[in-house]
Subunit: 144 residues, 2 copies
């Protein structure tokens, strides 16, 4: 990943991830995430306020059937000269346990202090191996 | 659509729309949009700074092949008690011309003053007929 794209991705607190169900219908949800190195994204199957087991399961069911995902990181501002986005296309899988899952949990806890209360230790993680990347617009710092 | 969901949707300035390509891979992009009545969304094939013809075409090509789309409206804040989202599942098509397209353009121009400079008169519109709706979290006003 180009360094300017990495900087933009790392600076984001939320992303939107699209997956596809067995009938070819898309599903898109907001995710918290962390970028590890230049081409791996981790996102927890977490317990945000009011547990959303079903919706989390849909995302998990989708990627079990079709691992293709598209992750959008974008900036919206009313000054449209500052709009920009990065799309990470990749393949997702669930890490239920093991050293890599543990490390992903550590990385997410470092990025999001909210997880201290809201992430169950040992929660499954989604791992996305990023392939093709597309980007558009202004990805540099916003001048407010 | 329930009135609390409508209020949340109407209050958003940006949404994220996922579509699916001929190989079953998802694609997700930010969109400007307007809700018309309770179950129709319009979004322009617009000319944001630095024309993005190719990316717009991908979205258009996808829905020509598979009209299923998923539109996410969400709120991210660092107070996770305030997180919330609405997902509108629907069928999309392109309006190239005609009275409905003209009306969609008018509605978008009313919502976004930026379009005065950035929307080509007569631009094609994407129309989404909203079917199933899912929602989660806190959709009421944020107490900052």
């Amino acid at each position: 990943m180009r360094s300017d794209l990495m900087e933009f991705v790392i600076g984001q607190r939320v992303a939107r991830m699209a997956s596809v169900d067995t009938n070819g219908r898309p599903h898109v949800v907001p995710i918290c995430f962390v970028l590890d190195g230049t081409s791996v994204i981790y996102s927890a199957i977490d317990l945000k306020p009011k547990s959303v087991e079903t919706k989390n399961l849909r995302r998990v069911r989708n990627i079990a059937n079709n691992p293709s995902v598209s992750i959008l990181l974008d900036r919206y501002t009313e000054d449209w000269a500052q709009l920009g986005f990065v799309i990470l296309h990749g393949a997702a899988k669930v890490l239920a346990q093991g050293a890599e899952r543990n490390r992903a949990e550590d990385l997410l806890r470092k990025k999001y202090s909210q997880y201290e209360k809201l992430l169950q230790p040992g929660a499954p993680m989604i791992k996305i191996n990023v392939g093709r990347i597309t980007s558009w617009g202004n990805l540099t710092g916003v001048s407010d």
